[in-house]
């Protein structure tokens, strides 16, 4: 058994099977995995960081959707819920989701952390305990409020409309240094301004001696007498599609699963990991999004500037009804073309004016109500992950309400006409039209829905009947040397864009994991 050298080894270039020993194998290089790998390497542990995606760096990010989605997203950008109803934007690259996210940073809201404590027996991760770890991330990743001149016309429409309706709004905090507003956060930052894992914690980990193996798909974790003993990987070609025929086997002292929601539970399901809670793969949440295109007389060019710089959380607390918050989405040709409904002439006639369109989105906070239990991850016969996510009546009601709010905001901002993402007649030009929203086809396949935030599936709880991992250090309840560190441990949606929530929790957990492993 040999060791891998510090630095990046690209799996597709290997010429033979690989068997490697180390202290810690970390599966996934996104917000959870990179933080854990760097923390462990800096503490002196030998670390192998495994990544299914490719080692694409800034020089390969060319502001092209036809390159970004196939190479930097799960399923080449085609991931969706099993019934196709919700399109799932989820990263798959070195740096994981942080390579393609839109850089928005929020600490986990107090009410969410409190809900986890009360409802899901989450202990040891209070706001007070998380605060220094959020602060660490904010400093390391240069998280700061967006300067006003960088707010693009798309976000200005949200700001104007929300203010006119009396909604509280805020400028967002972002993890960037020297952002020039190229608008390509979702395609890999072309100038290296984004302080994602690719530019920060992965280099930190390597500097501290970590080995990174890309294009290595973790097929399963092997267990012996209630301990994780190996991680078996298929090495993929440079396209990330076909196997090269070679395999990598990592034999670590402990395993950290950081594949993100959907992939982490799928890996543990493939591995036949014990699941005393019956919760493995369950309670997967998506912050499901309804959106509108608001068409203005002036140019919006929603592809320029930071994709997100303004938010309103005014409608987040709605008691028995679903809460939601308002943000924007970038309006790049491909992403927007697949969002607007219809085909042929009807589609082209609207879409030709896309330069005048603002895209406003409402993200629904799922998981806080008893009947909103989220989706269930399963493994297809090919081994790939699938997510079944039934949308319950309370959620449809929430979508309708959020849709009305979005239309009102766009109209208040001066939109000439607003298009919802439903098939059939879907244009609105005055508040008097709002009752028609109820009559839109609110059913799967008739309205385009999205998710850019995936959470849950390996939820944390100190009660082994409720959670897959315990909350204090995210250790698996039945396997002593197995940890899950990523967004899959959240017991509900976070109610905010989740990246900073993951950084903070990962850093807290990694510190405790390293402490535990060092002791023995």
């Amino acid at each position: 058994m040999k060791t891998l050298p510090a630095g990046i080894t690209e799996g597709q270039t290997l010429e033979g099977d690989l068997e490697v020993g180390c202290d810690l194998a970390v599966i996934g290089s996104g917000a959870g995995g990179a933080v854990t790998a760097a923390t462990a390497a800096q503490a002196g542990l030998s670390v192998v960081l495994l990544e299914e995606g490719g080692a694409f760096g800034t020089e390969r990010f060319r502001q092209r959707e036809d390159e970004a989605y196939p190479f930097l997203y799960q399923d080449g950008g085609q991931r969706a819920t099993k019934d196709g109803a919700i399109a799932i934007l989820q990263g798959r690259a070195l740096g994981g989701g942080t390579t393609v996210n839109w850089t928005t940073c929020f600490r986990t809201p107090d009410y969410i952390v409190e809900h986890w404590r009360k409802k899901h027996a989450v202990g040891g991760v209070s706001v007070a305990e998380l605060a220094p770890h959020w602060q660490w991330a904010e400093e390391r990743l240069a998280i700061a409020e967006v300067p006003l001149p960088l707010v693009n016309a798309n976000n200005q429409k949200l700001l104007d409309g929300a203010k006119k309706l009396g909604f509280e709004t805020a400028l967002l905090r972002r993890n960037v240094i020297g952002c020039a507003g190229t608008g390509n956060c979702g395609h890999g930052c072309p100038i290296g301004a984004k302080q994602g894992m690719l530019n920060t914690l992965i280099p930190d980990a390597i500097k501290a001696g970590a080995a990174v193996l890309t294009r290595a798909r973790a097929d399963r974790v092997l267990f012996e007498s209630a301990r994780a003993v190996a991680v078996e990987c298929t090495l993929l070609d440079a396209w990330g599609v076909g196997p090269t025929g070679l395999r990598a086997t990592i034999k670590p002292k402990a395993v950290v699963v950081s594949g993100g929601a959907i992939n982490s539970p799928a890996l543990l399901l493939r591995s036949n990991a014990p699941d005393a809670s019956g919760r493995l793969g369950r309670r997967t949440f998506l912050h499901p999004v309804v959106a509108i295109g608001g068409f203005f007389d002036d140019e919006v060019a929603g592809w320029r500037g930071p994709p997100q710089s303004v938010a309103s959380h005014a409608p987040v607390h709605r008691g028995e009804e679903m809460g939601y918050f308002l943000e924007t989405a970038p309006v790049h040709p491909m992403l927007a073309a697949t969002s607007f409904t219809g085909f042929g002439g009807a589609h082209a006639e609207l879409f030709v004016n896309v330069k005048q369109a603002a895209a406003l989105i409402a993200l629904q906070v799922d998981g806080l109500h008893d009947d909103v239990v989220g989706g269930t991850v399963s493994v297809l016969s090919s081994g790939r992950a699938a997510l079944d996510y039934p949308i319950v009546a309370r959620q449809w009601r929430g979508f309708i309400e959020a849709q009305k709010t979005l239309i009102r905001v766009a109209l208040a901002a001066g939109a000439r006409t607003v298009a919802t993402l439903h098939e059939g007649p879907n244009r609105f030009s005055s508040e008097a039209d709002l009752p028609r929203v109820d009559a839109l086809p609110w059913r799967t396949g008739s309205v385009v829905l999205f998710s850019a935030h995936q959470m849950g599936g390996c939820m944390m709880s100190d009660d082994p009947k409720q959670g897959v991992v315990r909350s204090s250090d995210l250790r698996h309840h039945q396997i002593d040397n197995l940890f899950v560190v990523d967004g899959s441990v959240f017991p509900t949606a976070t109610g905010v864009n989740p990246q900073l929530s993951i950084y903070g929790l990962a850093h807290l957990a990694a510190t405790r994991i390293v402490d535990g492993l060092s002791k023995g």
Binding site: Q12, G57, Q63, G84, G181, R443, T444
Partner: protein, 206 residues
Amino acid sequence: MKRRGFLKLGIVGGALLAVAGTTLAVLPGDRSVRPRVPLASLSEAQFAVLVALAARVVARTTADPLSVAHAVDTALRFAPPEVQKDLGLALGLLDNALVSLLTGGRPTPFTMLKEQQQDEALRRWGDSRLALLRSAYQGLRKLCLAAHYATPPAAAALGYTPSIAKPEPPAITARGPLVVDLAALRARDAVEMPPGSPAPVDGGTP
């Protein structure tokens, strides 16, 4: 039977599937369109239906339906095999005369219909009571639109241009490295950075 669960087929959906495989041979559609290069994901019959479908989805744009169909076939390689199979199956259903009849249309394969009738057939799927057909409609529609609008000329026609000029990195080969030799790249072609950009770092790849 496993795949039935994937698209959540109801009883009627199951009946549709049962006839899908059997009638294609009885009432063959138009298969005169041939792929330009070997296909990555679809069969030639499925591809021919996709070309006809793409022609309607991207109608009134500058798109060439055959190019769109090839781009969709390539894109499908990245989807799970189960999804590839389902979309191929959906194309078969769309061109199946008996399915068309059962779902309120004419007993004619999609590829043999006139343009206006093809649009009606697509709208019927988009507005179907069967979630399966709506889902297939959305999946195929989105793939065709994505394939067209992701191309730089289509994006440019809408007024979209990349913010900065960047040098062309080496082409990707199946076993080749992805990490770019930055010194060579810089020597070949300068990167034009917009005002306010961070100082050039080592490309971001550690």
